[in-house]
Amino acid sequence: MSQLFDIKDTPLSIEEVVEKVTRRECGAIATFIGTVRELTHGKRTLKLEYQAYKPMAIKMLEQIGQEVRDKWPGSTIAITHRVGTLDISEIAVIIAVSTPHRKAAYEANEYAMERIKQIVPIWKKEFWEDGTKWVGDQLEQTAYPEGKPSIKGEEND
């Protein structure tokens, strides 16, 4: 099997990520697809650039996978994040979670997305008509409350 957690610099395939979590004993697959949005608070984005600290990002994605399997036994999760330059509507991230039953698939998927925004070393640079900026801190924490991102996930229980 191809690896469940991946960082790629080429366009992402939804079918490919879903395929990784499809299992005979699971009836539900929830996916989240993050795409490049043109307008944020009325401001027009021209394109985005994503950069990753790739080996650590994959380790952190694997850690999120472990957290998800611990919290939702019987679940399988795969995450692929894109890096490089992305145009509007291109896919930046795909999270797929399969579970025997539906409710857990949604919950685990949402949990994984929250955790990505907390601990995975990936950065986004916005390109607007009037400039560029590396965006940090989308969760609007002005500093990590404990001086570093929670790497255990307690606050999400």
Binding site: Y53, P55, M56, I119, P121, W123, T142, Y144
Partner: protein
């Protein structure tokens, strides 16, 4: 020797994505202060530290061969 990795705006400010420097035996915090002065960095304040691909405390002492990554607030997803 230790290897320092820089990302996002830190990389652009410093004009490089990695630095090798003879800083084994000092704390992460001291490496950070050195880096800030050396490259006149403005964005180090809210930065997290990883040693050898794991988040680490600023008081940890770096060893020869360690890879120290300065990690600005992440914005993936």
């Amino acid at each position: 020797m230790i290897k320092i990795l820089l990302f996002a705006e830190l990389q652009e400010e410093a004009g490089t994505d990695q630095v090798e420097v003879d800083k084994a035996g000092v704390t992460v915090n001291e490496v950070k202060s050195w880096l800030q002065k050396q490259y006149n960095l403005t964005a180090l304040e809210n930065t997290m530290i990883a040693i050898n691909e794991s988040y680490a405390d600023e008081n940890e002492v770096v060893k020869d061969g360690d890879v120290i990554a300065f990690i600005p607030p992440v914005s993936g997803g």
